[in-house]
Amino acid sequence: AQSVTQLDSQVPVFEEAPVELRCNYSSSVSVYLFWYVQYPNQGLQLLLKYLSGSTLVESINGFEAEFNKSQTSFHLRKPSVHISDTAEYFCAVSEVNSWGKLQFGAGTQVVVTP
C-alpha cells in the first residue's frame, strides 16, 4: 500500500516571497500524483496532477510541482505567493489500477502575511 508524507505541517510566508511544500511518497507500483488545495470550511480543489510524461506540471494560478521518481517526491512550489494563497494544501497518491483510491498526506497549512 502507498503512503504519503508531507514534511511541514505549517509554512508561514510573506506575500510575494517564494514557497515550497514538500511531499514524499512510497509505493511499490506506478502512481498518479496530485496536489489539492482546501480553503476554510470548503471541499478540496484539484490544483495539479502528474500522470505521466513531463515531470514538471503547472497549474493555472502559478503553482508548479516536479515529479522526482528517484527521490519519490512531488514538491509543490510557487515563486511569488499572494494573500489569497493562504489555505491548506494536500499531496495525494493513487496507485495505478487501484479504483482511483487516493491516499492523502496530513496537509500543509500555508499562511501568507503582508
Binding site: Y32, G43, L44, L102, A106
Partner: protein, 113 residues
C-alpha cells in the same frame, strides 16, 4: 458539466442518534464514489468507496456504513453516533481509473455532542 452536491453543510447531533449524509453527482454516469473524513488538524481518511450500484468497499472498521442505491447517489449512515464520529465529511467522485483526480463536494461539518 459534472457537479457534485453534498448535504447538509453542517449538522449537530447528540450521541446515540442516527446519521444520514447524502451525496449526488450530476452530468456523468457510473462514477466511482468516495466518502472521506477529515478530523481536526489531520489529513483525510478514506472511509468507503463504490465502483457501481450496490457495490461498497469499506476501508476501516467503524461505526458507519455506506450505501449506493442509485448510480449517482452515495449515502453515509450510522445507527448510533459516537463522539469520535465528529469531523468534516467529504464526498468525492472520479471517472475511470482515477487518473482525472477527484471532484469533491463542499463537505458536511458533523459535531456529535
Amino acid at each position: 458539466s459534472q457537479t457534485i452536491h453534498q448535504w447538509p453543510a453542517t449538522l449537530v447531533q447528540p450521541v446515540g442518534s442516527p446519521l444520514s449524509l447524502e451525496c449526488t453527482v450530476e452530468g456523468t454516469s457510473n462514477p466511482n464514489l468516495y466518502w472521506y473524513r477529515q478530523a481536526a488538524g489531520r489529513g483525510l481518511q478514506l472511509l468507503f468507496y463504490s465502483v457501481g450500484i450496490g457495490q461498497i468497499s469499506s476501508e476501516v472498521p467503524q461505526n458507519l456504513s455506506a450505501s449506493r442505491p442509485q448510480d449517482r447517489q452515495f449515502i453515509l449512515s450510522s445507527k448510533k453516533l459516537l463522539l469520535s464520529d465528529s469531523g468534516f465529511y467529504l464526498c468525492a467522485w472520479t471517472g475511470g481509473a482515477g487518473a482525472y483526480g477527484y471532484t469533491f463536494g463542499s463537505g458536511t461539518r458533523l459535531t456529535v455532542v
